[in-house]
């Protein structure tokens, strides 16, 4: 009786739901790579001014 009343642990609920695991497996990587890419884009610097100056001069 006591055994049956025991609440199912949250982790077991997650591990038992294979569709949810599939969802997590796709979503976690998609979001991580997206954020990584956005960070990379945000950190890009422009072409160095000296290089532009050496080719374009005062243009």
């Amino acid at each position: 009786m006591e055994e049956k009343e025991r609440k199912t642990p949250f982790l077991q609920l997650v591990l038992d739901d294979f569709m949810f695991l599939l969802f997590l497996g796709v979503t976690i990587y998609a979001v991580s790579y997206l954020i990584w890419g956005l960070i990379e884009l945000a950190w890009l610097s422009p072409i160095p001014a000296e290089l532009k100056q050496s080719l374009l001069g005062g243009k």
């Binding site: 077991q12 610097s45 072409i47 160095p48 290089l51 080719l55 243009k59």
Partner: protein, 176 residues
């Protein structure tokens, strides 16, 4: 997914020794591949690391045209041929459907390549050595390049870029 659901109460059972062993093996394989990726990048002569700068197609085009004007030595099928000095910055522009300019380089000397696109996604594929990079407009991909053998090398576009895609073949000539 197993054919049958796990038996009731599996969550509280101790993990069997063989299962622990397979988890450990899988983890070791994952970590080995992860670190091998870094090691191989450095020691395996794979695609070199490259810096990327933010630019605009107009700015990059202006820089490429100035570069061509500065080092132009002739023309080949209507495409300018340039011979930049060693250890200099080299500009290569991909556009529908040509690579501009034709580059004449010296064997064993180092060059800093700046590669970008004027219009849409192109693929820089150096043949026959098979180096591949994606080239987006708006980004200046910088890679250090040291030709190790003399000869003529083709730059093939390997990202479909329209009806003239198959004709988009550039050239790098490496002299002794």
């Amino acid at each position: 997914m197993a054919l049958l659901p796990p038996e009731e109460g599996w969550y509280y059972k101790k993990v069997a020794r063989d299962e622990k062993m397979w988890i450990a093996i899988a983890l070791v394989v994952c970590l080995t591949l992860f670190f091998w990726m870094v090691v191989w990048h450095v020691y395996g002569r794979q695609n070199p690391s490259f810096t990327t700068y933010r630019t605009t197609p107009q700015e990059f085009n202006a820089l490429t045209q100035a570069f061509i004007e500065k080092y132009k030595t002739g023309e080949m099928n209507g495409i300018p041929v340039v011979e930049p000095p060693p250890n200099s910055d080299v500009f290569l522009l991909g556009k529908m459907w040509r690579w501009e300019p034709v580059l004449v380089l010296k064997k064993g000397q180092e060059y800093r390549f700046h590669i970008s696109s004027l219009d849409l996604l192109h693929g820089f594929s150096l043949q026959p050595v098979n180096m591949n990079f994606m080239v987006y407009p708006g980004y200046d991909y910088v890679l250090t390049f040291r030709p190790t053998s003399a000869g003529e090398f083709a730059i093939v576009c390997n990202e479909f870029c329209g009806v003239g895609h198959h004709t988009m073949i550039g050239k790098i000539i490496v002299k002794e």
